[in-house]
């Protein structure tokens, strides 16, 4: 984690060898004002992002439990928290769930988001209005979205199963949220729904930046429809695609509200991810040390992913 404050703070003080005289002190004064503009933000970022990360790393090596809040003592325990969480019976499950949840969500959100973006890129009556209305699921509180989905996915009276039962010859009443086999799928589905507007918006923006004459030139060479997409749209969209995917993975890894809102991690931990497991450890079992260890594992995963991905696509993200 970069600590941007270190460098900036040292600038607050005038340089030791500042030129004397009025001009010099005026310059220094201007410098102080400039730095004062930036310092509050840097302090905030350090306190609300830098500190938590450092604190979490430390807590990961401490026996930090409810007792700590009374006694103030959090003895150092080395790697005990890590071996406890990795040795936990459900750890493997949460790791796999995190993987499925992330990959499934990203693939679904991206594919559908791209399809809708391409569709709305065409000009037609009402396209602007319809496109902005699609943003709504993204703007409402996530927890409100999960609340309505709980009722839609209800086994007996949910709207989805009522639709399914209306299909002749199909006698299905899936327990979307209450069967361990389906719950993860349902949670992924809802998260896809929530993520489509974000993907669509950014990809639509990317499509808008592709110069129209490329398509005109392509059309002369016979590149229309699918071929135009493959040879013009996709290559031109690559930088935006990179950004969407990197952010998508980073955001999806840390999703917590969707899962807590829909299933609370159940049934039988079938929708527990590292994020929710970490929450569960800290705030339900009050073992903050183990919660921190899980949080650190999560940071590590997203860091490894981001570094690898950014290395491969360095140019694309530099823009």
């Amino acid at each position: 984690m970069a600590d941007p404050a270190v460098g900036v703070r040292s600038r607050t003080a005038p340089p030791a060898g500042a030129p004397a005289g009025r001009r010099g002190s005026q310059k220094t004064q201007a410098r102080v004002v400039q730095v004062a503009f930036l310092v509050p933000a840097v302090v905030y970022l350090v306190l609300f992002f830098g500190y938590p990360v450092v604190k979490n790393v430390l807590m990961g090596f401490q026996a930090y439990t409810t007792r700590t809040f009374y006694t103030g003592e959090a003895p150092w325990v080395g790697l005990a928290n890590y071996s406890a969480v990795v040795g936990n019976a459900i750890f493997d499950r949460t790791l796999w769930n995190t993987l499925f949840f992330t990959v499934g969500s990203i693939v679904g959100q991206f594919a559908i988001g791209l399809a809708i973006a391409v569709f709305f890129h065409k000009k037609f009556a009402l396209s602007g209005v319809l496109r902005s209305l699609i943003l709504l699921p993204w703007l409402i509180p996530m927890i409100a979205g999960t609340a309505v989905w709980r009722w839609i996915l209800d086994t007996d009276n949910g709207a989805l199963n009522r639709l399914l039962s209306a299909v002749p010859g199909l006698d299905l009443h899936p327990n979307w949220l209450t069967s361990p086999e389906l719950a993860l799928l349902a949670v992924i589905g809802v998260n896809i729904w929530l993520g489509i507007p974000f993907n669509m918006t950014i990809l639509y923006g990317g499509l808008q930046e592709i110069p129209e004459d490329l398509y005109e030139a392509g059309a002369l060479d016979g590149a229309t429809g699918w071929r135009a997409f493959r040879h013009i749209t996709w290559p031109m969209l690559r930088p935006v695609v990179t950004v969407v995917l990197v952010l998508g993975v980073v955001y999806t890894l840390k999703v917590i509200d969707v899962i807590l809102g829909l299933t609370n991690g159940g049934p039988a931990n079938s929708t527990q991810t590292i994020s929710t497991f970490s929450y569960d450890m800290s705030f339900r079992q009050f073992d903050f040390g183990q919660g921190a260890a899980l949080g650190n594992i999560l940071i590590l995963i997203s860091l490894v992913f981001a570094v690898v991905y950014l290395r491969i696509n360095r140019k694309a993200v530099d823009e």
């Binding site: 992002f49 037609f124 209305l133 993204w138 009276n157 950014i202 930046e209």
Partner: protein, 288 residues
């Protein structure tokens, strides 16, 4: 939660000649179908909220028998939480803008060299920090500082999404303000502070409104900090109210859905009222 790139939303607004949209009724029909599928859950939310007591029976597909009972129950039971959310979100907007605006300006117009890059990189890195990590550390810090279950505590935490987002958005926008205009003010004897207040802020109105609106939405929709940094029912944002509602009352969905609708109103208001500013703020930001 889309921080960072959202300013690219509508970069191309002026790219295409704004002629009349060609008539392609088929496209419009397909577009409406896509929208209908995407927005069905929202329709369902409103539909259920208007139905008479839906005690675990299948909700009718259309609200034929409209009643506002769900809303009166929701307001009497969750009204206080709505007010709490409103206070916290407005607080987060003010706090975030006060912190982020000068920083954005500094990064756009002062010659900070390497430091601007470092801060920018730091902001991007913040996007990778999981909320649960922040909550985990803040809980113990807040407990020591007496900030658990307090409005200021939640305002500070709920700004965590808004501040980085606002800096990125406004920095891009302010970068597009010609240096010559600001320099003219210096020539007239204004200092950085005066130039900032009398020239930069008025010119950045759209970006400020956009950053403020999104910060409001982030804070309003926050669930994790509400869940972890409040431990009593005394101070409970609406998202947490809704969550505990769903956990305890599942027999009757109409007040729950009425609460969900009420909690979604700011989003709808944003989309309807603010589009003009948002489009302008966002486009200006993207042009750089």
């Amino acid at each position: 939660m889309s921080a960072v790139v959202t300013h690219r939303t509508e970069p191309g607004a002026p790219v295409r000649p704004s002629g009349r949209a060609p008539r392609r009724p088929v496209h419009t029909v397909v577009g409406i179908l896509i929208l209908a599928v995407m927005l069905f859950p929202l329709y369902w939310m409103v539909n259920v909220s208007l139905q008479p007591a839906g005690n675990a029976v299948a909700t009718p597909w259309f609200p034929a028998d409209i009643t506002l009972r769900g809303y009166s129950t929701a307001i009497s039971e969750q009204g206080g939480n709505l007010v709490t959310s409103l206070v916290i979100s407005l607080g987060a907007v003010v706090f975030s803008l006060v912190i982020a605006t000068p920083a954005a300006y500094a990064m756009a117009h002062f010659k900070l060299g390497r430091w601007a890059t470092i801060v920018l990189f730091g902001i991007l890195v913040t996007q990778m920090v999981p909320g649960i990590v922040v909550a985990n550390a803040l809980y113990s810090a807040y407990s020591d500082l007496g900030l658990l279950n307090t409005v200021p505590g939640l305002i500070l935490a709920d700004s965590a999404a808004g501040i980085p987002f606002s800096i990125i958005l406004m920095r891009a926008f302010m970068g597009s303000i010609p240096t010559s205009i600001v320099e003219a003010a210096y020539v007239d004897g204004a200092g950085h502070v005066r130039a900032f207040f009398s020239i930069v802020l008025p010119m950045s109105r759209n970006a400020l409104i956009t950053a403020g609106l999104f910060t409001f939405l982030f804070a309003w929709g926050d669930f994790l900090f509400a869940l972890t940094l409040t431990t009593t029912a005394d101070l409970r944002p609406i998202t947490l109210g809704l969550y505990t509602y769903v956990g305890s009352f599942v027999a009757d969905w109409s007040p729950i859905m009425a609460t969900a609708v009420l909690s979604s109103l700011p989003a709808i208001a944003l989309l309807v009222l603010a589009q003009r500013y948002v489009a302008a703020g966002v486009t200006g930001g993207a042009v750089k």
